[in-house]
Amino acid sequence: MNGEVRDLAGDASAEGLEEFRLLFDQLRGLPGAVRADELMLFETALMEIANNTVEHGRPRGRVHWHLVLRVDSDRIDATLSDDGEEIELPPDAPMPDPAELATSGRGLPLARALLDDLSLTRRDDRNIWRLTRRYSEE
């Protein structure tokens, strides 16, 4: 699959997360060579970032986002921007030690583990997340 692009705008909310799921379901249903395993791993990473926006975006319940997703033959890229208040990317935290039985703190480490590049910038009053995953060898 080369250069399959999807563009979606909406509320950073539970309903918005469902729209993202439907978008990935559409991509999975496309005829052609989309790598189902790679799409699944990328969806996992993107959903963690989206969850973060729903949970921490301010003003609460009034943040709107815009997703641009591009699926190529060797990589998937996404830009997820929102009009919420400025957020800062927390410093690289390691994956929590499972023995400590932490019930949170795995979202961003999980996204980082699944992506080759993850960045957050602030421009034109928007938070802009950029995500890239290059396909592993089959």
Binding site: L41, V54, P98, L114
Partner: protein, 111 residues
């Protein structure tokens, strides 16, 4: 996510999840586990066989359930088979404390 609860014995409860265990549905699972444990069913099996997608909130609900059941003198086991769930458990190292059994029958062994 659909959640079906059944009692296998007086102290073993099965919670079968179907759908996506995510930020939206995780509180439902967490609450069901807490309810079962407080009712005296301290050994919990969560069947994730019908879960196509889990996120870190879903993992948090499982870990909270594991803590609650252990604090009550029991334990929590999971059955999982889908690729996404197994991948996420491995990437987060949670497969070390929540070893995925291939099915409910194996998870109930010796319980």
């Amino acid at each position: 996510m659909e959640l079906t609860q059944s009692s296998l014995t007086e102290t073993v409860t099965l919670l079968a999840c179907d759908g996506r265990l995510n930020m939206i549905s995780a509180p439902k699972l967490k609450s069901a586990i807490a309810g079962a444990v407080s009712d005296g069913s301290v050994r919990i099996i969560v069947d994730l066989g019908g879960v196509q997608f889990i996120d870190s909130s879903g993992l948090g609900a499982l870990v909270a359930g594991l803590k609650a059941s252990r604090q009550a003198g029991g334990d929590l086991r999971i059955a999982a088979k889908t690729e996404q769930v197994l991948s996420v458990l491995k990437l987060t190292n949670l497969d070390r404390i929540l070893r995925p059994y291939p099915n409910v029958s194996d998870a109930t062994r010796e319980w």
